[in-house]
Amino acid sequence: MVGLLVLASLTVLTLDARREDDGSPLDSLRTGVGSVLGPAQDGATSALRPLTDIPKHFEQVAELRDRNQALQAANDQLTQQLRVAGANAHRDAELGGVDRLANTEDLDVVKAEVVGMGAAQSFSRTVSIDVGTRDGVAPDLTVINADGLVGRVVESSATTSTVLLIIDPGSTVGGRLGESMELGFIDGDGDLSAAGRLELSLVDHTVSPREGDVVVTWGSRGGAPYVAGIPVGSVESVHSSPAELTQIAEVRPFVDFSSLDVVAVVTGSADRRTDDLAGGAAW
């Protein structure tokens, strides 16, 4: 009996392990389970929201106090800067904000709510959201929230989708330094907490990123899986890796992955529309 079950588990494992190459026979099963359990997760989340908000409430009191303090400090600082009328230091950040605004206006998005989160015991950083193929969501679409890049859709059923967060160690995003336009690759470290950092390794190893530089997505052809120009995070520290001769920058993500709630799936962008018009031969 047990031998049989172990054998069955191993069979499922081998069947599914080859999915990287040519789709897994379990994909349809996965989508099926998703269409049944997705709405169930959705319902459970909304029904028990008052209960699940309790820990958040306590966190929020402390957080609000901290934020109040931080805002006060920022306010004082800004007033001072306004007086000396030399806000050069903050120009980068503001430019980033303008970029973002311009971008947001050009994106077609589907709003979604996070209804389930993978456990740390599973060693992968994924969440499920309450929109699916019915809402026009498909694998490889970019997911953002108000703060920046969240991840990309890896799996969709009719009413739910699974999102791979960029903090997942298996996720790689093409990134661009906001200031020098240098290209690089951003990998996650798997830590969902506020201590979680992304690693940016630049293609050109002679360039050294500056602290505070904003990193945005570089974007791929047709805007999949990541549309261009979405803010990812800011460079916190830089160290060089002697083995690879590349500079590795630690990037603090703009998005707080442990408290994801409302996100948006990008279903279309100006880039993509132009591409479609040009028959995909724009570049």
């Binding site: 996965r30 359990l37 997760q41 989340t45 015991q121 599973s122 060693f123």
Partner: protein, 170 residues
């Protein structure tokens, strides 16, 4: 209760447990570690019914956990882990049902075995998220959290499994 009805009830129990684990208990996660309700279910099954039955429940619960969103790992890994947990805990139970302290020990052992088997299969398959360091960090925390919720969950589930047990065995 007829056999078919019992199977339906257990299946419903598994689905509800996994749904709760994925959508509700993630809000109470301690740095990402969530109490393994599905594992507690399997351990309770092992304590009441023994190794073979628990291995069956473990396979079913693991498969649901593998396939339900937002799971993204290779399917079958939780199934294998929970079959092993159910079987070993069922064997360790022996003839008598354990005391409260014994149950806590079983849960700790089960959480250790289950999470470790899952991490090991990840290492073998080359899952980028699994490293020995991250496993060493997650496994003890998962054990601790599972033990913490044991008094809230296991007695309830043990009672349910007792009621599902066929009474006309001798």
């Amino acid at each position: 209760m007829s056999k078919a009805l019992r199977v339906i009830v257990v299946t419903a129990l598994i689905v509800v447990t996994v749904t709760l684990q994925i959508s509700i208990f993630t809000h109470f996660s301690i740095s990402g570690v969530v109490p393994d309700l599905a594992m507690l279910l399997v351990i309770a099954a092992a304590l009441v019914r023994g190794p073979d039955y628990a291995a069956g429940v473990g396979f079913a619960a693991g498969l649901v956990l593998d396939l339900a969103p937002p799971a993204d790992h290779t399917a079958g890994r939780w199934a294998l882990s929970l079959v092993v947990v159910g079987y070993l805990i069922g064997l360790a139970r022996g003839d008598a049902e354990p005391t409260a302290l014994g149950t806590v020990f079983m849960v700790a052992a089960g959480a250790f075995i289950g999470t470790s088997v899952f991490a090991l299969t990840g290492l073998v398959l080359g899952d980028p998220g699994v490293s020995v360091a991250s496993a060493l960090e997650v496994v003890p925390r998962a054990m601790l959290y599972d033990v913490l919720v044991t008094p809230l969950v296991v007695p309830l589930v043990v009672m349910l499994f007792r009621r599902l047990q066929p009474v006309d065995r001798w």
